[in-house]
Symmetry: C2
């Protein structure tokens, strides 16, 4: 009726009883006369009483909300991760507050402040591309807020975390390309201080070394994310005196754009250049040739992180749990040189 929602006090006043009795009746507490309880419940239903969550939050010192900081909502990997987080959190009765740092360390800092001020019960964080320090996370530990870092974790912090086997999968992928007869494998990767980029690069390097292939700096492209000029990168690679015979890209979007440019230049994939992506976007099955990629299970990473956080909130894990989820190599046509050459 009025603008303000009905409160426990309203019900008490109407029924001529005290707030406490109403509260106890609603929370099925015991020690309330059956008749009174019924009256309260009936009126509550009639007035569509809904407890004020804020008052509860204040009293109980928790918000049933978890905060999430990701680099970019639009990034399909993070979108899927958030979806996994939401599913797990909602199931457990938690709400999810999502902030994007837009790959900026300063925004990340301000997101964090805001989420802490909101008194979220826990935090799920994947750091921005720019973030190469960790002191802005100090407040989390000072205030003992449960936290799980996922995917892009902070190497210097000993916290709960969920990652994938970046090193191993990059090693495996590179090894596979070598077995396909590739000898000049280019890679486009993120900044070295990012956990994922670093480990993937390391896996790539070690696979080269193990196969007695020399690392050629010409074949290493450092991706600047949004500012990337993939076309220029690709041209640069193709125009090298010794152009690469394989490209291991940071993600499927870049891989597909590169394929497009390579094909326009009249080169054949995978015969001239094999292309391998990362993330397994739904679309990658349908480009030509179908893109080989790494299945990076974003949804599972998100869900696992949320579950880890929730158990931490419940006070279950006293030592930071570190969980690894396995990615897997998905071979399609864009790297199957042996088959292609056999044709």
């Amino acid at each position: 009726m009025n603008n303000h929602s009905v409160t426990i006090k309203d019900i008490a006043k109407i029924l001529g009883i005290s707030k406490s009795t109403v509260s106890r009746a609603l929370s099925e507490h015991s020690d309330v006369h059956a008749e009174t309880r019924e009256k309260v419940l009936a009126l509550a239903r009639k007035l569509q009483y809904q407890p004020n969550a804020i008052a509860l939050n204040l009293k109980q010192q928790r918000t049933n909300t978890i905060g999430v900081i990701i680099p970019e909502t639009e990034n399909p990997f993070f979108a899927r991760a958030v979806s996994g987080i939401q599913r797990a959190a909602n199931q457990a009765g938690y709400n999810v507050m999502v902030c994007q740092s837009s790959e900026s360390c300063r925004t990340e800092e301000s997101n964090l402040k805001s989420l802490i001020a909101t008194r979220v019960d826990g935090l799920l964080i994947s750091i921005s591309r720019e973030t190469d320090k960790s002191d802005h996370f100090d407040a989390i530990f000072q205030k003992k807020i449960p936290v799980v870092f996922f995917d892009r974790i902070c190497k210097t912090l000993d916290t709960a975390q969920v990652t994938t086997n970046n090193y191993e999968i990059a090693f495996e992928a590179t090894q596979y390309l070598i077995r396909q007869g590739c000898r000049r494998i280019a890679t486009i990767t993120g900044p070295r201080h990012l956990y994922t980029s670093f480990n993937r690069f390391q896996g790539y390097m070690d696979a080269l070394t193990k196969n007695n292939l020399e690392f050629n700096p010409d074949y290493l492209l450092l991706s600047d994310f949004s500012k990337d000029n993939i076309e220029a990168y690709t041209r640069h690679l193709i125009d090298l005196k010794e152009p690469p015979d394989a490209i291991f890209a940071k993600n499927d979007l870049i891989a597909i754009e590169m394929m497009h440019i390579i094909k326009k230049r009249g080169l054949s994939i995978p015969r001239d250049i094999a292309v391998l992506g990362f993330n397994n976007e739904p679309i990658s099955r349908f480009v030509e040739p179908a893109l080989s990629t790494v299945d990076h299970p974003a949804h599972d990473i998100g869900a696992a992180s949320a579950e880890l956080l929730l158990s931490q909130i419940k006070g279950e894990n006293h030592h930071p749990v570190k969980k690894t989820i396995k990615s897997s190599l998905l071979i399609r046509e864009s790297t199957e040189r042996l088959v292609a050459i056999g044709n």
Copy 2:
């Protein structure tokens, strides 16, 4: 130091003054002796005092949080829209709580309840595929919660809304296909009770009629979203006695998958079948042939919705504002039959 954060009371006790003075000093209120204020501010900084947002929320009866309900976080369109929402909201000092209905009306209902219980200051809603009623939104109006529906709005509700010119753009797109010489235009669309699907279908129909083309029910596919079997749909179309010479798909993902299957069957795009998508995914520029599509400005829709909501929260608009954002037709290769035939 201790687990619990420092409060205004702690500061008051340490300095031997009252809570009110501390509060006034912190809020620069006036009527506080300069010396006292300095002492308070200094101690607050030293103890890293952060006001308890929950207490403030309770007192001020607002949360500085807006709630968002979308069908799917993973859907690129909604991911972009949420990104726009976040940007606009954060700029204005608001946090964003995102829920996904997973295209289920019941989940949508439960999301809504949860957000109302959290006492969000306003709601941004894009309804689920399943939602063909609106009574679960009643609580919003009873409680007079500011709300903006966007993209997938609820036809039966007279609320603020942000949509695109679905009808016009579908009409224009179909008209364009006809001008390209297409006479048997198939379309794959969502359920009729969805605002977007309905209007797009209507635009498609009216364009056919205007050009004296008969509507052929064989050419209409109703998409079931996640459960879709695009391959079967496409085969069905191709295997018709009179297969279509154009397909206007609900979104780029479906369009690209269809292109893939059409090409595998040895048909040429756009010569045999022209393919038109919707949404303008980044990837669509790079498939072969490059996909013509409708640029549906998700980010802008999100940002505009958030801004509309914020002005409503400020109490600026007393009548529901309805805003339309223009989509635009993006012609690439997958529909350029005149050029293709000219070749």
